[in-house]
Amino acid sequence: MSIACQIVVCGSIVPDPLQTLEPITSPAGPALKNEMMLPAVLDPWAGHALFEAANLAKNLPGSKVWLVSLGPKAKLQQVMMTVAQKVPFELVALDGPASGFTDATETAAALAEAIQAIPGLDKSRLLVFGGWESASRGAGATLQMVGERLGILDQFQGVDALKVNPDGSLEILERIEGGKHQVSKCAGAPALLGWATGNLPEPKNNPQVGMLNMRTVMPALQKAKPVKFAGEGLSFASVTLPKQMRETQIVKDKSPDAIAQEIVEWIKQ
């Protein structure tokens, strides 16, 4: 049995986590202050999904990886300059908002449509990957909806490990409560996996991979389909930063023994 897979990774961009984020109200609803000016990165958990996909494709000859990414075209281009140097993939770009305040349903519809339009996609070999939650909306909703739209009934979230057996079946570790993993076995593709951290480090930049990828990345960006979201039925009353600023008592002049005593009493309260 051939187990070459077609792996479609859904991954958008988010502001660099080290940036200061401030919500504002725009005519279209909540947004981030200077959103287009903020440096962006590939969504971290989607990044793990991409690296796992590339590793899987490398080990399953004949496999291929697509990255379906929805975001403002200019920001996508900026991020792809880095991401394209990591692992081989073919980009499918959608030019639209990457905001955390957009509706997962609308995002899912756009992504599913883009996936279905990939030429030569064979659903019997399809694995849809993505991050189990984004660093923007952080809902873990979009992938499930994409899966439903594609008719995929085998879905897994918080995935930390995937093994493809010689017979094409999948063994999957999913995060559950209490620092545990659920172990599942799936008959095979099609399946959808929302990745947590996985087990792979971020690949080093490889200029050769970058050159190969850029042959398809730039055309994909040029023909990125514009996507607009209406946000119908969703109405924000407020988006605010937490105001809670604690009055920190700074204890500088106590001995370790005295501090320990205080901490133990506090723990036991």
Binding site: A135, S136, Q157, E177, G179, K180, H181, C186, R246
Partner: protein, 345 residues
């Protein structure tokens, strides 16, 4: 008029988890505020009678159940089919559910299937003048939004630990069974087990009163110019054993372990808190050797009382974020803490 459906699954022993009772409490609060609303409970599991009985005194007027061996497993296809069937049977407009790992895997998919909308990690629900609003966090707990939705059904996944738990009394509930016809396609996945560290090696304890956060400082060179990783490991594990605290870690410390360095081998990405980790809920938090600014400190956004030990009095992890910052050597302090926590001979 809203029909509020609380959707819960049973645990392996047939009981309801605390998170289910929290969702029940949130839904009951909505029910109270929405005049004329209906209140229905839907349960999924191998057998749901005991669970229904355990909450029989809640305001629900109807209990629906999907039961059988196929529904004992936490698996997308069967859970989605069960949830869909209950939602259709109840004709629920507001579906309130605990955002457990099991339900978080399926709720948004079911909302899609039913033409509804889903919001997860919800930390607050309210209703005023017939209008329902929910609150949740965005950008990894860095800002909080409150909003309403016009679409129905509206699936609301309640973040475990964010609500009070319903303390309704037990009794006898009449459960109407909802039939679900499963195809073979729904059984392509089988759950073969749970993988977890041995009991004495489990460092993640969601129900612990205290979260103990370790930062990369534990592995850095100390006053004598040498790192003391073995000593750090012993101090941390001793403390966890004696305090029964849950262990969280900064990303930098976990990444060091992932990069193959012999650094605190008991840490994994599951311990990681913050921007790309968990944001656990505990009554108290004690951070040690952590450094960083706002983006890194979201990991203890939902910690009640917070104390920190750091050599840096200006540490961004602690200033303005902790109630007390001890400017001290964590090695010395934690060594003494462990001594004091040791049982009397």
């Amino acid at each position: 008029m809203e029909t509020i459906l609380v959707l819960a699954h049973t645990e392996t022993d047939g009981s309801l988890a605390k998170s289910a009772r929290e969702a029940l409490h949130a839904a009951a609060t909505l029910h109270k505020s929405l005049a004329g609303s209906q209140f229905i409970v839907g349960l999924v599991g191998e057998n749901v009678q005991a669970a229904a009985n355990s909450i029989a005194a809640c305001p629900a007027t109807k209990y629906l159940g999907v039961t059988g061996a196929d529904f004992s497993q936490s698996r997308y296809a069967t859970d989605a089919a069960a949830a869909e069937a209950i939602c259709r049977a109840a004709n629920g407009t507001l579906v309130v559910a605990p955002a457990t790992a099991r339900w978080a895997r399926v709720l948004s998919g079911v909302a899609q299937r039913l033409g509804g909308r889903a919001d997860t990690h919800v930390t607050g629900v309210a209703a005023a003048d017939g209008k329902i609003s929910v609150s949740r966090w965005y950008y990894r707990q860095r800002m909080e939004g409150t909003f309403t939705r016009a679409q129905r059904p509206w699936f609301i996944g309640i973040d475990p630990g964010s609500q009070a738990a319903c303390n309704c009394d037990a009794g006898t509930a009449t459960v109407e069974m909802v039939a679900v016809a499963l195809t073979d396609a729904a059984k392509r996945t089988t759950v073969s087990g749970i993988r977890e560290p041995k009991a004495d090696a489990q460092t993640i304890r969601p129900d612990a009163p205290l979260l103990f956060v370790t930062g990369a400082g534990w592995t850095k060179k100390q006053a004598d110019g040498q790192p003391h990783v073995a000593e750090a490991e012993k101090l941390i594990l001793d403390f966890l054993k004696k305090s029964r605290a849950s262990l969280g870690s900064s990303k930098s410390l976990v990444d060091l372990s992932g990069e193959g360095q012999a650094v605190l081998p008991f840490l994994s990405h599951l311990n990681q808190i913050g921007q790309t980790g968990a944001t656990p809920r505990h009554a108290k938090g004690l951070s040690t050797c952590c450094h960083g600014e706002e983006p890194h400190t979201v990991g203890w956004r939902f910690i009640g009382e917070r104390r920190a030990i750091s050599l840096d009095p200006n540490c961004g992890w602690a200033r303005g974020k902790a109630d007390v910052l001890y400017v001290a050597d964590a090695f010395k302090v934690m060594s003494k803490v462990n001594e004091l926590l040791a049982p009397n001979p």
